[in-house]
Subunit: 243 residues, 2 copies
């Protein structure tokens, strides 16, 4: 069984969340929009699917994952789908549902990170909303980042299994999501994160542990791993960063 993942090929963006889970699980998948058109790939293949070429179950937006008749969209839902099938989810229903809540909350955090540079709307260029972005970025840096990171840190401290993962006794897709989000925050807000990170030692340790997990480490060192850039969710605009 091979999965087809669809996402914009030029940015890690929200597609990187399910991609990391697929890689950590070591499962076979096609990254369709990054394949050549001669192999059925490219953006046009993705857009054709969204227009109905592959299923009546239309995704609203990428990323989406196709697994036979099944079309899973929304990054957190894809992560849960893959994680639960490939030993990257907690055992037990209560922890399994809690992992879903964590991943969905991470998706909200990511949406806020995006809106920092597009507070007035996705239809406008960043350059046309820089003043508004300066205001939004201040609240994000000073209130929202600490609020989210404080919550993750409390989860790590309160995990009943003592595993130092967010939920349950082993690494799950929820941890991979936090890893990717921390990577993005460090890229986009290096000065702020340098100041903040000492307050969240559990998160820093988790990020380090995820990065050296063999399948993750191999992926991060591969050409499949995309660098962050200024077309994506996490953008390094120095004017939006501060200690």
């Amino acid at each position: 069984m091979a999965y087809d993942l669809y996402y914009w090929p030029m940015i890690p963006g929200r597609g990187e969340y399910p991609r990391l889970v697929l890689e950590a699980a070591g499962v076979v998948y096609r990254d369709v929009a990054r394949l050549p058109e001669s192999e059925g790939g490219g953006i046009r293949a993705m857009q054709a699917f969204m227009a109905g070429s592959g299923s009546r179950r239309l995704p609203f937006a990428p990323p989406f994952l196709v697994d036979g008749d099944i079309v899973v969209s929304q990054a957190a839902e894809i992560c849960a789908y893959v994680g639960e099938r490939h030993r990257l989810a907690p055992a037990g229903e209560a922890d399994r549902l809690f992992a879903r809540a964590i991943a969905l909350t991470t998706a909200d955090f990511v949406a806020e990170a995006h809106d920092v540079h597009h507070p007035l709307g996705v239809g406008l260029y960043y350059e046309d909303q820089t003043e508004a972005a300066l205001v939004r970025a201040q609240g994000f840096r000073e209130e929202r980042i600490p609020k989210f990171l404080g919550w993750y840190e409390r989860l790590l401290a309160g995990n009943a299994s003592g595993s130092a993962y967010l939920v349950g006794g082993t690494m799950t897709y929820a941890d991979l999501g936090l890893f990717q989000t921390m990577s993005g925050l460090r890229y986009a807000f290096p000065r702020r994160m340098a100041t903040l990170e000492a307050d969240y030692p559990g998160i820093a340790a988790l990020v380090g542990r995820v990065a050296v997990q063999p399948a993750v480490a191999a992926y991060l060192a591969s050409e499949r791993r995309m660098a962050f850039n200024e077309d994506g969710i996490f953008r390094n605009y120095p004017e939006l960063d501060a200690e």
Copy 2:
């Protein structure tokens, strides 16, 4: 088995999404923060739970649902949890997962509706970001509402069961979510919706059908149903509306 739902008692907000599913399912639940403190309710009970009084599985934010050891947070996840247990979800895994994607996409739509009046951040008053809200509202009215509604309309037209519901052959929590969102949009953007709605006859018909479903109709006529107001997600600020 009785569920405990927790959400801010003064607004329908995101809590109304799971509340509608609980009501449509006809299940017993306590709306904890709306109960008197003498019955273990009130905002303080909700905040105590979020601080760890009830579970190590801490929700990041309301709404959340407590069902014994299980704590489900994120509005769409609660809707799926209740819907799948009480015949308000599609049969079959592919449709079941598609309903989840629809509910999560609706949650994104709701977040955008909120950000129309808070584009610069949740830490600032509306009155301090009115100019930015005017810009964001225009894009929301002219681009985002049609994009989301167009997607729902296509789902209704493409439903293989011919049921005129979003997915599968019967009403599901995905339909209830669209109903609530349309109610909010009509409240917040009456002029825009009056202009737009004729373009989406399938949605209008669905909303009407949901409203007369007996359990839903009884709930809507009850005192439990809260009116929209200007502290919530959907706010009627006339300056943000236009044809």
